[in-house]
Symmetry: C2
Subunit: 307 residues, 2 copies
């Protein structure tokens, strides 16, 4: 499919909720005076549902409110309302398995950077079919490149807030695609690995699992947290420390984690081949299985069931 067809498919399939009103995707619009549009001044979460259960929703809501607090965002919407509106949107969509994006902006401005100039947030909930990543991707892995691009760092507001200020990530992905990769791992100013454009990064060397600590300037991924729990529960040897490009270039296995991708193996880093098949990556394979069990357990709890 070309870009036009993909967009038109999205418009056919997605259901959008804008401040409580369910809207056709094609008609889903926001004021051009919204600070999300003018300044990237918004926060968001992405999760998904499966068998009509929203996965790890509490954790995502916690992080949403945490992001708001980091950015000093007045939050006029209560948690129960976000839950109710999300469930309403999912029910309306009829989808049992959906990608869910929740965006909260600081609201409309009379064009001043002053964040205290708004009177209400805008809440946008997008539900669309969960993107289908072919089973083959999980068997064969994806290609990544290391990109030396300024990531939003620890002194800045962004590293821990999940904001809509994503231009650096857009540019990193663009560089990686130019280099023939699928996506990018970004390097911070001190020269250490941080995170991917939309995912956290893990590597295995000599049977030990490594991932960058939060202090490297990364977002506290929900799936990352789940994998940390798995390592604790199953005595998998894990070291959280700053990872250099030299170190990751000698990795035996690399995988990435995100709410939409789950655990996804990496077949190439900057052209270097790490193997051809999930069978080549035993720790990645084991964590994939253990994570699947965590997801099933969460689903079976039916905590956020909308059936």
């Amino acid at each position: 499919m070309n870009n036009k067809e993909k967009l038109s498919q999205l418009y056919q399939e997605a259901v959008v909720n804008i401040n409580g009103v369910i809207t056709r995707a094609e008609d889903a619009k926001v004021s051009i005076f919204d600070r999300g549009f003018l300044y990237g001044d918004s926060i968001y979460e992405v999760t998904y549902s499966d068998d009509k259960s929203i996965l790890f929703f509490d954790e995502h809501l916690d992080r949403l409110y945490h992001s708001a607090s980091i950015l000093n965002m007045h939050f006029f919407i209560d948690r129960e309302m976000i839950i109710a509106e999300t469930i309403k949107t999912l029910k309306h969509s009829g989808m049992g398995r959906a990608y869910i994006r929740i965006i909260v902006t600081r609201g409309e401005t009379h064009i001043t950077l002053d964040p205290n100039s708004t009177i209400k947030n805008n809440l946008i909930i997008i539900c669309k079919p969960q993107p289908h990543f072919d089973d083959l991707i999980y068997q064969k892995g994806i290609k990544l490149s290391l990109i030396e691009i300024t990531v939003n760092e620890i002194q800045g507001p962004d590293s821990h807030a999940k904001s809509g200020n994503y231009l650096n990530n857009v540019m990193a992905m663009n560089e990686a695609i130019k280099l023939g990769s699928d996506d990018a791992i970004m390097i911070n100013k001190k020269g250490f690995i941080t995170e991917g454009t939309t995912f956290n990064v893990w590597m295995v060397k000599d049977g030990i699992l490594y991932t960058p600590p939060i202090s490297s300037g990364i977002l506290k991924g929900i799936t990352r947290e789940k994998v940390l729990d798995i390592c604790g529960d199953h005595k998998i040897h894990l070291i959280k420390e700053p990872i250099s490009p030299d170190h990751i270039n000698q990795a035996d296995e690399i995988f990435i984690t995100s709410s939409t991708k789950g655990i996804m193996p990496v077949s190439h880093l900057d052209g270097r081949c790490l193997g051809n098949n999930i069978e080549d990556w035993p720790i990645t394979k084991r964590i994939t299985q253990l994570y699947r069990e965590v997801v099933i357990k969460n689903k079976e709890s039916k905590e956020y069931f909308y059936g």
Copy 2:
């Protein structure tokens, strides 16, 4: 006026052009799938008109296309069309003196960071009454604070592209307001002065004028360029070099430049008083007068006259 009244005044007064269609400000909306809204993936320019002439429009258009090129943004809109649409919007507004904001986004996405996933840009032109800065401000000056916040730096895509990725600037302004100032000067990771949230920064010490070079990670302001020309033409002693907080803390005069603010004196930096009146700042006063002459000349050229 409170925030609600200010917003409702904006909605009454502004005229918006969205992809060639003139729209009431209240109805001016963009798709929530626009990359400007989702990722801050847009570029923009702000200029103004006076006596029905658009000021320094060529320079702004040059920079707009330069920003697009830095960000690898496919630009499907030609320059003549932007000029024609801007003039159409201004004529429709009836305003002789208007604030003009031109925004170009990479367009709508089926929700992927990949910047090659779009099929057309969105072009938004906002015209509203030029914000009135009281004459008193130009006589008495404003209060600034130095804020150590991550500015988007030279390795990143942002320092020279004028993008809509402004969350760091929003947060810097927020900090400054908390400290009792009007606005912020941002410091880069090396500890040097860069720029304000929406303006370039200048200081005078012992009769010499200083401003940070582009290599400090600043945007090439159009008004900054005009002041550089003025310094050359009038033999004003100017040094472009990285400025430390220590250096600016000993300044005799500080002023800021932007298209909307022009030359604006600074009365306080982090609480330290630099004087009470434009008469205390002879170089600021002289440059204000010389800049006014440049503006009048540009206006009289009637290059972008829409009367």
